[in-house]
Amino acid sequence: MFIFLIKMFMKRIVVLFFVCAAAVLLVLNFSCAKVAAAGNNNGGTKDSILVNIGANIIIPGYQALATNVNSLDSAITDFNSAPNSTKLSTVQTLFTNAYISWQAVSAYNYFGPASDAIPALTGLNIFPTTTAIIDTNISRNNDNVNTFANTSAKGFPALDYLLFGTNNTTLLADYTTDAKATNRQIYLAAVSADIKTEVNAILNQWLPSGGNYINTFETGTGNSISSSLGLLVNSIDQDFEITKNDCLGIPLAKIPVGTVSPILPNEVEAYYSGISIQLAVAETKAVQGIYLGNSANGNGLGLKTYLVNAEQQKNLKYNGGILSDTISLALTSTISNMQAIPDPLSATIQANPANADAVFAECQGLTALLKTDLPSDLMVSINYGDTDGD
């Protein structure tokens, strides 16, 4: 407990502080035995774990996404010039590639350039898309996808509808012989162009040749709210909860929406293209990759490295075992069980949801590890969440 000695002179108060043996720690002192990390320091000292995560995992992830959305956009331009089934097939394949590579980097959406951008990069994946708004926009040839009213009529979910919204024969007719074919092509091009613009802007912000956020990230040492570790843990937790809640929970009726919760199979991610599980797996694998530090070009320094160091320094135990191993096993198990859920998820939810229900429960357990136990051992505070209008 703090004890203040107050020494009162006639007019002035001079306060002496001292701290007794059981003092509260004033400054969170985070040190890592195996890597150089010296407090919060954006002045130059780099943390080798952050270097690996930033340079070998995050930037390559954004580069892959940019490459894929650029290819997709070119293919869409080509498709619009003379729509046929071959070109449609190409566009649909490139869409799938792009969406999966989006999901591989969505865990970084809640800090740094992706989060500071206006519109925020998360706006590229607001699902379920509102098809009525898309149809109205096409009908009226309104292709300004960035008005606020179009928030759920743009991005990957909009492409999902525009490219897979009906069977290929009808779809092709919509882009060729239908009365609104030209408008539809324009809207398709606008949605894709917006994705390409936004993604490339974020990549540029990270690169040394552009905004050089990579430097900020690598030198953001320590574990405060604004440190790279703090931002990263909050971001991956937030994104994983979306996978848990929005990709699985709400469609499976595990999360009450109103007073009655029916299953909502139409509200899965990628409802039209039917790649919902592929996306959920990609996202969870991305979380695993950051944790193990080994995805993309990673060299194995990841969140687990921080955790293992903390466990060794402070002899931390978790339920009689070791948390860092528990998390590793939970990630592997969740991914494996998730992969076993058949796509399209919307059909599985209606026909045979037992596996998906079980994976949802497993995701809840993994969330607790990532959102409570991991941050606690790393002394990182979780500061996103339901501020319920206090």
């Binding site: 203040f4 000695l5 020494k7 009162m8 306060v15 004033l26 206006i118 606020f148």
Partner: protein, 385 residues
């Protein structure tokens, strides 16, 4: 980090003596506990008043279910504690003789009674909310959260809650307890068992209105009203330790007849509560931006309404040390709606069919920057609020 504005000396270890270069008369040493565990603390009245506020807000929120009518007279009666409307399971509120009305700034009382009337009218709607039409609409990101909105998109439930915070809690703390109620002429000698001297008791009552546990900020469990908001803006304002230290130091000063010290701490509390309300406006801009990024216009109307409540609270603060002027408050209100600042149209503010997210966030940033420039929050602090 602890932030004390008067001069401090370096840390000493326990075994060290303080060296007194020259002891003048009236040198008093006293200890200050790290938690609010003084003798004779009794803030049970304030805890009951906050419980009454909770129940009024809960009653207002019944109107968030479409078709459920909330009776304005019931809300008014709860405010005046007549009619026995409180749920007495936790506290004996109905027979307590306490009335929120007695602890309310006159300006806030007028506003609250008007807000109750509005709730009474709008909750009669059976349609969804839309431009010019009161009703209930759900958040798009969290559809189980429903909002009763006014014809101009204002979520009065939150405006009411913020008016209670500013017009009752902060008003009482900063404008009543920290001024007349602990002035040097107030009795600080006669100790009443269970509540202390009059001066001690008033100080404790002020603490009771803060809404924090006795070991705040070590514990942040059960934070209410401004206790909760202090914690939400603490990264940018450092209000948790500033306010808590001032309460601790002030009560210790009173206990030891250090009236000068008491005054210093009272002034810190008065000033910090002013800044806290301003910081809360900025915090709601961040939440509004997040709702805009999610495309959740209804939730955005909710957080904008929260900020509006905090803006109106600035007027309830009658302290001569209040930073913002009346003219600046008018400027701030005009940023919500320059045509009708007294009843801003939040649908126009968001302008969903014409504005991009960037344009909407430029408006929230204008509010953020104006508050920042008036209250001296720098760019880093603004980003942390």
């Amino acid at each position: 980090m602890k932030k004390i504005t008067f001069p401090t000396l370096a840390f000493l270890i326990m075994t060290c003596c303080v060296s007194c270069t020259k002891t003048t008369t009236n040198t008093i040493y006293y200890t200050v506990p790290a938690t609010y565990t003084f003798t004779n603390v009794n803030d049970s009245n304030q805890l009951m008043l906050l419980a009454m506020a909770d129940q009024i807000v809960a009653t207002v929120n019944l109107g968030n279910a479409s078709g459920v009518v909330v009776n304005a007279q019931v809300l008014t009666d709860m405010f005046n504690n007549t009619g026995g409307y409180f749920n007495d399971s936790a506290h004996q509120l109905n027979a307590s003789g306490l009335r929120l009305a007695d602890y309310c700034s006159p300006l806030a009382k007028t506003d609250l009674l008007n807000y109750f009337d509005s709730i009474g009218v709008y909750s009669q709607s059976i349609v969804a909310a839309s431009y010019g039409v009161a009703g209930v609409s759900p958040s798009s990101a969290s559809p189980s959260k429903k909002y009763l909105l006014s014809p101009t998109g204002i979520f009065y439930s939150q405006v009411i809650k913020k008016a209670i915070m500013g017009g009752i809690c902060a008003y009482e703390i900063a404008n009543v307890y920290m001024t007349d109620s602990v002035s040097n002429s107030v009795d600080n000698n006669t100790v009443v068992p269970g509540s202390g001297t009059a001066m001690q008791h008033h100080w404790d009552e002020a603490f009771g209105f803060f809404g924090v546990p006795v070991n705040f900020p070590t514990s942040t469990t059960g934070l209410k009203y401004f206790g909760s908001y202090s914690n939400q803006v603490d990264a940018g304002l450092h209000s948790n330790s500033t306010i808590m230290n001032a309460f601790l130091l002030g009560r210790a000063a009173i206990d030891n007849k250090d009236l000068g010290g008491k005054q210093v701490q009272a002034n810190i509390i008065i000033r910090t509560f002013d800044q806290l309300d301003a910081a809360a406006i900025v915090q709601e801009m961040k939440e509004t931006d997040e709702n805009i990024n999610l495309g959740d216009s209804v939730a955005a109307y909710g957080t904008l309404s929260e900020s509006l409540g905090f803006v109106r609270n600035l007027k309830y603060n009658t302290s001569s040390t209040r930073i913002i002027t009346n003219a600046q408050i008018a400027q701030l209100e005009a940023l919500y709606d320059n045509v009708n600042p007294a009843n801003p149209n939040l649908y126009n503010f968001v302008g969903a069919s014409v504005n991009t997210a960037a344009q909407i966030e430029a408006k929230t940033d204008a509010i953020r920057q104006l508050v920042g420039s008036i209250y001296g929050f720098n760019a880093t602090e603004l980003s942390l609020l």
